[in-house]
Amino acid sequence: MSKLSIDRVSKVFEKKQGEVVVALDDISLEIEETEFVCFVGPSGCGKTTLLRIIAGLETATSGEVSLMGAPIRGPDPKRGMVFQEYSLFPWRTVKNNITFGLEMRGVPKADQVSAAETYLAMVGLEQFREAYPYELSGGMRQRVAIARALANEPEVLLMDEPFGALDAQTRNAMQRELLEIWEKTQKTILFVTHSVDEAVFLADRIVILSPRPGRICDTIRVDLPRPRERTGPEFADVRRYVLGLMDSCRLSSKI
C-alpha cells in the first residue's frame, strides 16, 4: 500500500456571481514512503489547492485523499505544512514556535525542550533559540518553520513554495539543507514550486500540472544521483525535458 493516496480528487470553487472555477479535475496519484515529490506548474494550476486539500485546510468537491489508508477529514499533526509566507507566530520565540505543536498535544515539558534542541540543531539555529521571529532573516524564518513542522513528527511534510520569497543564493542553500534533513529524517515530502530548476534539484518524482482545470499532465521520475550538479549536462537534459513537457501541456490545455 502506498503512503499517501490521492484518489480522483476534484475541486470546484464557486465565485460570487455564480461563476464556477474548476481548480482541480480528477487528480489521482500514489505517493510512496520517504518519496520526495515535487508539483510544478504555472500559477493558477491548483497546485497549492491540492496541497491544502492534503493538509485538510480545504475539502475536495469530490474524490478523497487518504494517508496510510485513513481518509483525510481535517487538519491533523500527521501532516506537517510549511507555508510560502512567513507563518511563524511573531509573539513566540524561536524555541516556543518549534514546541507549539507539542504543547498542543500535551507532550511533557522536558520532552518539548529536548525536541526543540534536536530540531534547532538540525536547522543550525541553536544560537537563536530565544530570538523572536522579527530578529531573523527570511531564510532563517523558513528554517524555523521547517523545524516547527518536523518537531510534530508528521508522516508527511507538505511544503508550499517555501523558498519562493528567498533570494537565489539563500534558496539554493536551503534546497541543499532540505535534502540533508530529508535524508536524516526519512520523511515523505510533497513540495510545490513553480521553479523547474528547484524541482529537478530536489525531487524523486516531478508531477506536472496543467492550468484551468488543474490536471496531471505528466509525471516523470528523476533518477540523477544526489547531490545533483545544477550545471551538469544530465541536469540540463532533465530540465529541458520538463520544460518541454510543460510547454506541450499548456498548448494542449488551450485547445
Binding site: 487538519p75 507549539f100 505543536g101 523572536y132 522579527y134 513542522a149
Partner: protein, 262 residues
Amino acid sequence: MDATRTHLLRNRLLPLVSIAAAAIVWQVVAQFIVQNKNLLPSVTDVLGAFLVLLESGRLASDFATSLTHFGIGVGAALLIGIPLGMAMGWFRDLDTAANPIIEILRPVPPLAWIPFAIIWFGLTPVAAGFIVFVGAFFPVLVNTYAGFKGVPRLFVEAARVLGCTSPGRLIRHVALPAAMPSIATGIRIGMGVGWMCLVAAEFFVGGRYGLGKQLWVSYSLQQMSNVVVYMLLLGILGLAIDAAFRGYVDGKLLRWRTGEVA
C-alpha cells in the same frame, strides 16, 4: 561623544526649559497683566494652595476616591469589553446580532448616562464608576473586536495544521496573542476617555472626596487656585497611569513587537 552629549542636552534639557518658560510667562501674565486671582491665579498662588492642601492631608483621600471610581469603571470595561469584543470578532453570527445594538449605543455620550447612573446606583462610587465604564467600554470593545477580526488567516491555518483545532484553543493560543497590540491600544484609549469622564462623574454623583469633586467644590467657593491644583493633579495622574500602562505593555506583553513597524 560630543554628539551624544548635545543630543542628551537637547532631549532632557529642552522640555525642562520649555516648562520653565511657560511657568514664567504664566506668572508674569497673572501677576502683572491680569492682576486678578479669580480670573487667573499665578504660579505662586497655585503652589501656595498646593502646599496648604498637602498639609491638610485630604489629598490622599481624594486620590484614593478618584482611583476607586476609575478602577471600578475601567475594571468593568475590561471585564465585559474584552470578552465581548473577542466573541464578536470570532463568531460571525454574534457579530451580526450584536453590532447594531453596539452601533446605536456607541455614539451616546457617556455623560448622557448620568441620570440613569444616579437612579440605578444612587449617589455612590458605583454610579461614578458606571460613567467611567461607559466612557472606557466602547474603545476597549471596538479595538478588541478589530484585533480579532484582523488575525491573519495564515496564523490560524498554521496553528490548525500543528494540532490546535478547537475554537477555544485557537482563541487562546493564536487570536489573543495576535490581537494583543490592538487590545492594548483599546485599553489605552479607553482609560483616557474614562479619565476624562471621571471629573464630570464626580461633579454629579461623587461623594465627599475625589479630585473631580474637589475641583467643583473649590469652584463654588471661588478658590480658583485650588481649581488649578486639581486640574494639574488630574493631568499628571492621568499621564502617570498611561505611562505606567505603556511601560508594562511594551516591556512584558509586546516585547515581540520591538523592531516591527507598528
